[in-house]
């Protein structure tokens, strides 16, 4: 019979992971910590390389026989093409300013989630293969050889970065680690290493018009449901124009707003607002997606998805474009659109037809963020608002990474919220505005198989929400991004279950007093408004 260990022996078991240099740490890929690979058919339809069935759990990832050559050529081509890539590979002095700023490192304690080390995954190969110093010094100089295990490590960690760019805020050299992730993913795509949650939306958006692949007749039906729901809540019947040539404004929003709760209520909010101010606008089935998952796979995919919006604006003959509450759409618009598909000189500099305000900041892209548009309406007294309808909500605001860090949208959403809600509380300083913490699910990682990772990545954000919940009894988390609305709902359920997620324009619509409306007794979710219920509901 085996000897039973004594308690003394048992508590002497060493539970510490072995001390190893990062290059020697084992790779731990297991169900729950990776996203499923793209389906071969989808890659074929997008003309993407190496479509085949494979799994990260397999030993053999079925790479092309000349995979090494492809990767090295891919790096070489991008070093020539993107000056930023070359600079970012060369100038990092490993000062460590970024190391503890990543939500995935903070939530996991995995050193390879430190932005500097995530970049080193690629930089070590750059040094080893492209620099003399690296070739001479080898590991001592932070260089290493390109092997299949390195490729696997890239896949695991470049699909663990949400491209939120919080780390870049702290980098004294301004290195944009998100761009290193983007390039890492581009190179992985050359080998057919990508995830379905990104590539299927890219394919759907490219071929059908939106991430989910909702066809025009289905989208029309969905919008009709919303029109019915709005009438039930407000008594006002509205119309939603589609494919209207010659409209003044093309409205583009992420498809998450019309197929998934709670984004649907935000979508209803936009529609009510446009009806109330009599905006001459149109939506499009062809450009029915503000989101751009191309950003998360390759610059070529990003370009062709972004081009659809501008091609449709030209075809419909609108003057300018209004964009909904989306996150990464605004990074594409503000940082890449002009050089990819611009200049959009067939459009006019956006001017609000209601207030006459010219949006000079959108002079180049011709695209205005809806909170800029709405805050301007409020500033000019064009909306009749009753914020007391939101009095049961104690609200805090999550700055979505891309609008805040890629376009500097800081005040407008706050201004709107403070005008439609009476109870607003900020989260702690280091967790908002430019230093906001990511929801943990951005850049195409908001799939359900990645749930554990998303919960750990979202911990710093949830932790700050927990603080204002404990201190001020905050029960509402407002945000301006479709991925946030979906991801934060789940994140709150796990970490701070008493907090509900709202889009800003849902809050606007609840407070909006519409001409000809009936007495509001319920909010857009058709839940009774405390103090305003029907007698039978009380």
């Amino acid at each position: 019979m085996a000897k039973t260990p004594s308690p003394q022996e048992l508590w002497n078991i060493d539970h510490k992971p072995p001390k190893k240099w990062w290059m020697d740490l084992p790779l731990n890929i297991r169900p729950g910590n990776f996203s499923y690979p793209a389906k071969p058919q989808i890659l074929k339809e997008l003309d993407m390389p190496n479509p085949r069935p494979w799994s990260p759990l397999d030993e053999d990832w079925k790479l092309p026989p000349n995979w090494k050559e492809i990767v090295l050529e891919g790096i070489r081509e991008r070093l020539d093409k993107f000056r930023t890539f070359k600079v970012f590979m060369d100038i990092c002095v490993r000062c460590g300013a970024c190391a503890d700023k990543c939500h995935f490192f903070i939530g996991s304690g995995d050193p390879r989630n430190m932005p500097v080390l995530r970049a080193e995954l690629l930089r070590s190969i750059y040094r080893g293969e492209f620099t003399k110093a690296g070739k001479l010094l080898g590991r001592f100089g932070g260089a290493r050889e390109l092997t299949v295990d390195v490729i696997k490590e890239w896949f695991h960690y470049f699909y663990q970065c949400t491209e939120c760019r919080r780390c870049s805020v702290f980098c004294p050299y301004g290195i944009d680690t998100a761009e290193i992730t983007m390039l890492g993913r581009e190179i992985l795509n050359l080998l057919g290493l990508n995830i379905n949650w990104i590539m299927e939306p890219v394919r759907n958006c490219f071929k059908i018009g939106n991430h989910l692949g909702i066809q025009p007749h289905s989208l029309k039906d969905m919008v009709d449901f919303f029109i019915d729901d709005i009438e039930e809540v407000t008594g006002v019947r509205i119309e939603v124009p589609f494919m209207k040539k010659g409209a003044e404004v093309l409205f583009v929003t992420p498809s998450g707003d019309y197929f998934a709760d709670p984004g649907t209520y935000t979508f209803m909010g936009y529609l009510m607002l446009f009806h109330e101010i009599g905006l001459d606008y149109t939506m499009s089935y062809y450009a029915a997606e503000g989101g751009n998952f191309g950003l998360f796979s390759s610059n070529e995919n990003m370009k062709r998805l972004n081009a659809k919006i501008y091609a449709e604006a030209k075809r419909l003959g609108v003057k300018w474009i209004l964009g909904g509450e989306c996150g990464h759409m605004w990074r594409v618009i503000n940082q890449f659109m002009d050089t990819m598909n611009g200049p959009a000189d067939f459009l006019e500099v956006p001017k609000s037809p209601i207030t006459g305000t010219v949006f000079e900041n959108a002079r180049s892209t011709k695209m205005v963020h809806i909170t800029e548009f709405t805050s301007d309406l409020i500033k000019h007294g064009k909306l009749n608002l009753d914020p007391s309808r939101n009095d049961h909500l104690k609200v805090t605001f999550h700055d979505s990474c891309n609008p805040v860090r890629a376009m500097g949208l800081l005040e407008e959403p706050r201004y709107v919220i403070k005008n439609v809600c009476n109870n607003f509380y900020e989260m702690p300083e280091d967790t908002i505005r430019e230093k906001t913490f990511c929801c943990g699910s951005g850049s195409g990682l908001n799939n359900d198989e990645f749930m554990e990772m998303r919960m750990r990545g979202g911990l710093p954000r949830a932790n700050a929400v927990q603080y204002v919940h404990d201190k001020h009894d905050v029960n509402t988390l407002a945000c301006i991004c479709a991925i946030d609305r979906a991801a934060l709902t789940t994140l709150m359920n796990y970490w701070v279950p008493d907090v509900t997620v709202y889009g800003v324009h849902e809050l606007v619509a609840n407070a909006l007093v519409m001409k000809g409306e009936k007495k509001r007794t319920t909010d857009l979710r058709q839940m009774p408004i405390p103090g305003m219920e029907d007698a039978e509901d009380v």
């Binding site: 510490k16 910590n33 490192f105 750990r456 709902t489």
Partner: protein
């Protein structure tokens, strides 16, 4: 918990040492590259994991000293286990720190272990630690079950409009949002 007053007084005397060692075990369970970050940062927003470890381990050690009921440990254990459930630990690795408390206390009380009263108290404390381990196991499994539920809820939310359009939903009486409010 009914261990002797004498042991309580000893634990009180060694409180800081016990907290440091027990929290150290939790920190050491992470890869070495994260130790400095998890131990040194006390900013609760920049380092929620390190902050939670420091705060909740101290609360539990105080609970042991004050011989509190096991239910009063639920909140602290939940905060630690909720984090460890979603990190890269096997279930046994996530829970091990609870049982390692036995070793921590013995190390801290080394010179007093020959005292019969202390040894008797330690036996009771061991049984209590075992019960804490079971509580931590319940919390771990509860968190895992919640993760599975969250996955299901997301799928439901993402497909609600499509299912509704396909007229596959049976709505409740007027005003009742039926299944919509369930997800």
């Amino acid at each position: 918990m009914g261990e002797s007053q004498g042991l309580s007084a000893l634990l009180q005397k060694k409180r800081a040492d016990i907290i440091t060692r027990w929290a150290g075990i939790l920190v050491d369970s992470y890869p070495s590259g994260a130790h400095e970050f998890l131990s040194n940062k006390k900013n609760r927003f920049a380092n929620p994991v390190g902050y939670t470890i420091a705060k909740e381990i101290a609360a539990m050690v105080d609970g042991l000293i004050n011989r509190q009921d096991i239910d009063s440990f639920s909140s602290s254990l939940d905060k630690i286990m909720r984090i460890r459930t979603v990190q890269d630990f096997k279930p046994s690795e996530a829970l091990a720190f609870v049982y390692q408390l036995k070793g921590v206390i013995r190390e801290c009380l080394d010179e007093s272990l020959s005292d019969a009263e202390v040894r008797a108290g330690l036996e009771e404390l061991d049984a209590f630690t075992d019960a804490l381990g079971l509580l931590a196991f319940d919390i771990y499994v509860g968190c895992k079950e919640q993760l599975y539920q969250l996955r299901v809820d997301e799928v439901k939310r993402n497909t609600y409009m499509l299912v509704k359009r396909a007229k596959m939903l049976v709505e409740g009486p007027e005003g009742d949002q039926g299944s919509r409010n369930l997800v």
